[in-house]
Amino acid sequence: MSPHSTPLPKAAAETQLIARAQKGDEEAFAALFEAHKRRVYSLCLRMTGNTAEAEDLTQEAFLQLFRKIATFRGESAFSTWLHRLAVNVVLMHLRKKGLQQISLDETDTSQEEPVKRDYGDDDRRLVGSIDRVSLTRVIADLPPGYRAVFVLHDIEGYEHNEIAEIMHCSVGNSKSQLHKARLKLRDWLKEDRRKEFPGATIPVDKPNGKGLR
């Protein structure tokens, strides 16, 4: 796994904190929570698209972590252990909610849809124009299965083989769902731009020296 690294605390300091937490040191629990809370919460928020659920799941992930911390032996990085645990907590939650889309093998419909292209005045590049709130919203609007793969791969940095293992699907399926998720996000963001700038004409680069319109 190659997720974004957690800068604080440093590895040695974190090892000490873990050892103290394993002895029931409240300060160490608080420090570990402080160091990892933003990444775990952001993961939960992007996987669910809902702040209340994300907070509950963050709490649940850390609760499970602290209950099990005595069993942590350091074979893997602590952050890897924690984030895998958080991912499992979220996926369990989504499955309990009856979101069948979370099972990727049931939703794989690869190859049947052509990639959309817009022509004429609607063909505007997204480059430099993606608003964070809009992006967050469209990610939240993705079907849960697509969203899970997209968040795990493009945001959290998991590899497809890891996603396949976590989500009980094939590597090819993970790749396919990710590609579709990106295409959907692209379509929705372009749609947002059309609503935002109706009738506007935004020049498109012409790499071959020929115009689009």
Binding site: F33, V127, L135
Partner: protein, 229 residues
Amino acid sequence: MAEGDFRQNPGCAQFDRELMDYLEGEARPFVSTHARECAFCSVLLADLEQVRFSVRQLPLQEPSPVVWANLHARLEQEGVFRPSVRGWGWWESLRALARPAPLGALSSLALLGVMFIATPSALQLPETAASASSAPQAAVVASASFPEDRELARMTQDLEDTFRANEGLLAPDTRATYEKGLTSLDDSIRECKDSLRQKPDNTLAQDYLLTAYTRKAEILTSALEFQGR
């Protein structure tokens, strides 16, 4: 040319077939070659790369202090902590959230939140609202535009004024913890308002704005409780 006509171009069809693997980092020279020749496919490729780039820039989000308050209470209840090694000064500030007085204040905020939810247009800001502000925190709440929004902003501002008047009572590290949280929330409020000015019907921005105000009030309530001890 109508949408879908690209399939008449075998190059675009091959581009589609190889695009996914290309984005996965596989060597697919046809994709980049074709993108240089076809403006439509070039735009598609640039868009997908921009989406991939943009999501990596999304900032991490800060959970509410209530998450740790609840978690702490559960761990304490389960006897996970050892009594001999308890207590961190700065952390004691957040534990105030589990006390009765702040919970009373939070109940009031929750009621106010219900008012928001019952008024769908409550958080929609008009296009003519004040432009994005880089001014200090007070400007964040002062630019509220609807009655309920103004009321919540006013309550938050009152809490903040009281907090500022007494912030000298807090230890520097405790104050720094609160300041960090407040600054982050003010940034969120500002960002949501910027988005709502551009898209008043952005419901996610509306939700985030309400949440940010509520969390700011929670933190200030916690800080005031701590100052009063």
